[in-house]
Amino acid sequence: MKIIEKALKQGRNMLSEYESKQILSAYQIPVVNELLAESIEDLLMAVSKIGYPLVLKGCSPEIAHKTEKGLIRMDIRDEDEAKSAFDEIFSSMDGSGNAVLVQEMIKGKRELVAGMTRDPQFGPCVMFGLGGIFTEILKDISFRVAPLEKRDAMDMMHEIKSSRILEAVRGMEAADMDMMTQLLINTGRIGLENERIREIDINPVIISGSKPVVVDALIILE
């Protein structure tokens, strides 16, 4: 894929969040509605297309973990907030990459994680688990070797301890299991069809209504 070739030519081993999601999108994985802004003009254009509330994130191939670096502003509700958030993020990015990702704010309490890692013996393997801040704390995750069949994807979702999070709980709809299954199968396909991709983090996948939406992603190359 062109994005991968371009990054490799530039000597990068990491794709930006925006680039990563373009790859996911090319594999029919549902990603959040987002646009890249390099100026206030871009920002206002993006805002008019996406609408409030918004999330603004610093976007650069050199920044892997944005939360830790304070480069995210959530729940932006008007133009003044958007402009000042844009300026703050832009100035604290100390010249690296220099773009701001303007994202629709996805509502949903359930955060999941999906991922891919290339094991030297097994080849591309797909991960699924509880997402957001719980990923590292609870490590409630499961793995399958790609290619995944439908039953593998279903089984790996049932395998985690908190699998009931996918069901209709506390007034929330059950997650769309067909979409979830496709998301996991396609994550494996990306690994199988792109040898230069070493790892993929898709975290979080938020269940919005019943639909999974990828809100953040990171792709590592080799």
Binding site: M14, A64, V113, G115, M116, T117, D119, Q121, F122, G123, C125, M127, T135, E136, K139, I141, S142, F143, R144, V145, E149, R151, D152, D155, M156, E159, R198, E199, I200, D201, N203, L218, I220
Partner: protein, 467 residues
């Protein structure tokens, strides 16, 4: 890697008409003497050919200077000589048309010196070129109980009962553990195989052989540390999904993922987690500990297929029944409601002093074999029940109960799985229970929890292959 085009080599390994022991000896500080004992005391019926250039006879058998010196066809060779002699030994085997070798000698990959790896490669080349199937090096050997062939350095393996479980193990120590556990639990084995450092027979080749060419084996029990080409093994598992149960104990859960990885996925992906995922994908049951592994193998080998998750628990005393209930429910088995007719029959035989619905506390009838028999019979005939657990603790007053129910159990012969914990001091009920088990009437365990976990393994296996 030797491919299984060479099935005849594997057949000769397990069913040889003649076995040569290179390094045979009478001195007990030589492994070759223990191998000789294993073959002779294990009751091997074929020709035993001791090879040792310094002896005329060994244990009453004529010894030969070399396998060339013997001159006739040899089906299988057990090698227990120092590593430095191996190149010569393998050339001789190749020249003499030997197709199967059990290579006990250690001192290859596992030593620090790189000469070990060179030697490994040298003999691998000779063996592969000549089409010799090799178990080992660095193995205690293997046992084929159905051929009374103990090709190991531990004669005591021959005390294990002949049965239908095959153990394939990467660890000699763990194989010995299972062998001795088997003797103590009345488990029956078809084969115990120590793969050692896997010159050209790895898990993949052995699993394929046991699946396709070994009618004596009904259940495969694997002990695995880590292998070079898991992808190939997974293909073989997939191809044989559901044919014979495969259960595995894989160590290595303490290994960590790549801590230097920049992604969360990479840092959390330990090799062990991926193995567990791959097992689930291929219909293999992974089991966390050695005791449950053997218990599960016994249940899978000794019980018919479990068709549903409805379990009846019949307990001579309430406590053991409750312990079994807890485990069953934790693994997704259901303590089912009996149908009305069954419940009436139970009520006729139990006063309303105890739990008469499932789990049934047979307490009030605990030393009444007739009442116990009637209750068991009623439950056997209930369509809601897919399997039965029967738990009876000995007391002097109920000493006759096992005899009282045995003909019922023998006649029924597990139309549905019957897993028991019928437990007494050593010497009481032992013969009766062994007879019931050997006749296929039940599989017995020494605690209600172990019995329940074995039942859970039947259920897990059904789910693993049905998915």
């Amino acid at each position: 890697m030797l491919m299984n085009k060479n099935i005849s080599g594997m057949n000769l390994l397990f069913n040889p008409k003649s076995v040569a022991i290179i390094g045979a000896s009478e001195k007990t500080d030589k492994l070759g003497s223990h191998v000789m004992n294993s073959l002779i005391k294990g009751g091997y019926k074929g020709k035993i050919i001791p090879v040792n250039p310094f002896s005329e006879t060994i244990m009453g058998l004529k010894a030969y200077r070399s396998i060339r010196d013997y001159g006739k066809q040899i089906d299988m060779v057990i090698v227990a000589v120092p590593a430095k002699l191996l190149s010569e030994v393998f050339r001789e085997c190749a020249d003499s048309g030997v197709k199967g070798v059990v290579l006990i000698t250690a001192g290859f990959k596992e030593i620090e010196d790189s000469s070990g790896i060179e030697l490994h490669n040298t003999i691998a080349e000779i063996a592969n070129k000549a089409g010799i199937s090799v178990i080992g090096p660095n193995t205690f050997g293997m046992i084929n109980f159905h051929a009374s062939l103990n090709a190991s350095f531990t004669p005591e393996f021959s005390r294990v009962k002949k049965g239908t479980i095959a153990l394939v193990s990467q660890s000699g120590g763990i194989s010995h553990l299972f062998g001795f556990m088997a003797i103590r639990t009345n488990a029956g084995f078809s084969k115990i195989i120590g793969l050692g450092n896997r010159l050209n027979i790895d898990f993949a080749e052995m699993v394929e052989y046991l699946m396709d060419h070994d009618p004596d084996t009904k259940v495969l029990m694997l002990y695995m540390e880590g292998i070079d080409n898991p992808g190939r093994l997974m293909e073989i598992f997939k191809k044989h999904r559901g044919k014979k149960p495969v259960i595995v104990n894989k160590t290595g859960s303490s290994e960590k993922g790549d801590q230097a990885s920049k992604s969360h996925t990479g840092s959390m992906a330990g090799r062990h987690e991926i193995y567990l995922g791959a097992f689930r994908q291929t219909g293999i049951l992974a089991i966390d500990d050695t005791e449950t592994l053997l218990d599960s193998a016994r249940a899978l080998a000794g019980c018919p297929k479990l068709e549903g998750n409805g379990v009846a628990i019949l307990s001579g005393q309430a406590g053991p029944g409750m312990a079994a209930c807890d485990i069953c429910e934790a693994y997704g088995l259901k303590i089912v409601d009996f149908n009305n007719h069954t419940q009436e029959r139970i009520n006729e035989n139990l006063p309303p002093l105890a739990l008469r619905s499932n789990p049934v506390d047979m307490g009030p009838a605990w030393y009444d074999a007739d009442a116990s028999r009637e209750i068991i019979k009623a439950v056997m005939e209930d369509d809601n029940v897919n399997a039965i657990m029967l738990l009876i603790m000995f007391a002097s007053a109920n000493v006759g109960v096992v005899n009282g129910i045995s003909s019922l159990l023998l006649n029924w012969k597990q139309k549905k799985p019957l897993i028991t914990c019928i437990f007494a001091p050593p010497g009481i009920w032992d013969n009766e229970m062994e007879h019931l088990e050997d006749s296929g009437a039940l599989v017995n365990f020494p605690s209600p929890e172990r019995a329940a976990r074995a039942m859970a393994s039947l259920w897990k296996y059904k789910n693993a292959i049905d998915k």
